[in-house]
């Protein structure tokens, strides 16, 4: 299932997030990397150095766009200026698919710039799916939505998070960007079994997988993307590829970013699990 309609029938391997601190290394050393994920909003601008760097990167590498502020789950309509600029960037990068989060973050035109958790209700699922369809039809590129880490749950929720994710992606007929670190973080914060989450989602819709590190506090875990991936998250990754196949995999490292080689080496650990899965399938 790695190549499917939700990632435009591509077979991408292991990539890392493109970060400014690594630009010089990438452009001068030209390391072998299967693909880079870019934060769309960083390049939804009119000109200057960021777009110049992006153009140089695209001469050598494949990139996929990942957004942080479309807020599919916000009750308000999508921001037309956001959509226009996103489409402009999609045309520039020729990204095979676009991802953003299954969350909300704006209301009445005011932005929190955070990935706020959804209430797991049928009403919210319907509104979210409608917005995903609208954005996809406008962008004319497949969309996959990412499950977020959360620190709060709502009284009004009518289903589990994985049931809500399934409800949304089936109604919208879109893909899933399965973040196994976020599943782990939320499972610890809300006391559910993360393996059940992976077992219950529609695996045929997984377009891409995210792995990352996090920070543990006394009473909760925060999704900080500033550490290596821990073993329980790698186990969830093994579960995910067992169900979804060798899917495009991306390591996120956004804070206290180490050297390019350290980040890339951490991402390439995924190969161990991919090889084990291939072996198990062959036997």
């Amino acid at each position: 299932m790695p190549a499917n309609q939700f990632n435009n029938f591509t077979n991408y391997g292991i990539g890392i997030g493109l970060r400014a601190t690594h630009y010089n290394h990438i452009l001068t050393r030209k390391p072998v990397v299967d693909w880079f994920e870019i934060i769309s909003e960083n390049f939804m601008i009119d000109g200057g150095r960021p777009l110049h760097i992006l153009d140089q990167i695209m001469e050598q590498y494949r990139v996929v766009q990942h957004g942080v502020s479309m807020y599919f789950g916000s009750a308000e309509r999508a921001n037309p200026e956001h959509m226009r600029r996103l489409k402009e960037l999609v045309k520039r990068t020729k990204t095979p698919w676009v991802t953003d989060h299954l969350c909300w973050g704006s209301v009445d035109g005011r932005y929190t710039h955070d990935l706020l958790p959804m209430p797991y209700t049928f009403e919210a699922a319907k509104i979210t799916a409608q917005k995903i369809r609208e954005v996809r039809d406008f962008l004319e590129v497949p969309i996959a939505v990412e499950n977020v880490s959360s620190y709060a749950e709502f009284h009004v929720s009518e289903m589990t998070e994985w049931e809500f994710l399934t409800e949304v992606v089936e109604d919208a007929d879109c893909g899933i960007l399965l973040d196994v670190n976020n599943i782990y973080v939320s499972s610890q914060n809300h006391s559910f079994n993360p393996h059940t989450y992976i077992a219950e989602i529609p695996a045929e819709r997984v377009a891409q997988i995210h792995i990352a590190g996090h920070s543990k506090y006394r009473k909760y875990i925060l999704d900080t993307h500033d550490h290596p991936v821990i073993d329980p998250v790698w186990k969830l990754y093994a579960d995910a590829i067992h169900r979804a196949g060798h899917t495009a995999t991306l390591l996120e490292w956004d804070d206290r970013i180490p050297s390019f080689d350290e980040v890339h080496d951490e991402a390439l650990k995924a190969n161990i699990f991919l090889a084990a899965e291939s072996l198990a399938t062959a036997v």
């Binding site: 939804m44 704006s106 932005y111 620190y151 709502f154």
Partner: protein, 298 residues
């Protein structure tokens, strides 16, 4: 509870300013207990109350926007000092929560807001306003649009009485009461040094205070522009500034030159050579575009 209603409630709580010790306030703006507000829509768990779970998002919101704002306006921080800068930032975001999908635009209303609330900037109001204008222009020059540039030879053949030149969209012209360009460059130097040494903090603070303290009013004219993808501050003579500003308004070349020398101390016979030299420099820097239309700028 309907989705929109829940999101409005949560956003209101998340955007409420923190206490001085950076915790969620015990009471909402309407006086209601935040514990009661949180309990109405957020479930507690075996480790955290509803209030504590909501507080995670409340703190994250403020930490994120204040940190991004401080990165965008290090010069304003140097002018106001850390304490006043924090107070200004909190008051600004309370009055003007972000209305853009990108945090790049967090400072877009800062100048107009500060003009309406000058007392928040204390005795250095004019210096603070100049710095805000410069730092916002710097952000816009960094990623503003660039049109294909006119070449010097394109200008040579043109009729000055009919020629309308357009400035590149990324260029911003500023008339300032203080030489804040020097101050901002000094602040950035100290920020860079801080990265090199964690023990630099106190020294940096003292150096910043000295730099601000010795800054005297002195009118300057500035073009904030871009060359090879880096932003530069170029000081202009008053006459240069007027010509460029008039061109930006859409005046023809001859009409733009006329007001520039009103009250000018430049001798009449020297003016043509000045104009020639300026145009040569502007064209070499690629400041004129071939586009008929130009986007707005300050």
């Amino acid at each position: 509870m309907k989705l929109l209603n829940l999101q409005r409630r949560m956003a209101r709580a998340v955007m409420t300013p923190l206490t001085p010790s950076e915790r969620m306030r015990p009471a909402a703006a309407n006086g209601r207990s935040m514990r009661a507000v949180a309990a109405e829509f957020i479930k507690p768990n075996d480790r955290l109350t509803s209030f504590e779970r909501l507080e995670i998002y409340n703190r994250q919101y403020w930490f994120r926007i204040l940190s991004s704002f401080a990165e965008d306006f290090p010069g304003l921080r140097a002018v106001l000092g850390d304490k006043r800068f924090d107070a200004v930032a909190k008051a600004y975001f309370t009055a003007y929560p972000s209305r853009s999908f990108t945090m790049r635009n967090l400072g877009s209303k800062l100048e107009s807001w500060l003009r309406k609330h000058p007392s928040l900037a204390g005795s250095r109001k004019n210096l603070a306003l100049d710095m805000v204008r410069l730092e916002w222009a710097d952000i816009n020059a960094f990623d503003g649009k660039a049109e294909p540039a006119l070449k010097p030879e394109d200008l040579a053949a043109a009729d000055a009485s009919k020629l309308r030149l357009r400035l590149q969209p990324y260029i911003h012209l500023l008339d300032l009461r203080y030489p804040v360009d020097d101050l901002l460059l000094e602040v950035r130097d100290t920020e860079d040094a801080e990265v090199a040494s964690n023990a630099f903090d106190e020294h940096r603070r003292r150096k910043r205070v000295r730099a601000v303290a010795r800054l005297k009013p002195s009118e300057i004219f500035l073009a904030v522009h871009r060359l090879d993808f880096s932003v530069y501050f170029r000081r202009l003579e008053r006459e240069e500034f007027v010509i460029l500003s008039e061109l930006h308004k859409g005046k023809t070349l001859s009409r733009a030159i006329e007001p520039a020398f009103r009250g000018s101390s430049i001798e009449m016979e020297e003016r043509p050579s000045h104009v020639q030299r300026w145009f040569h420099a502007w064209a070499a820097l690629g400041w004129f575009s071939k586009q008929e239309k130009n986007s707005s700028r300050s």
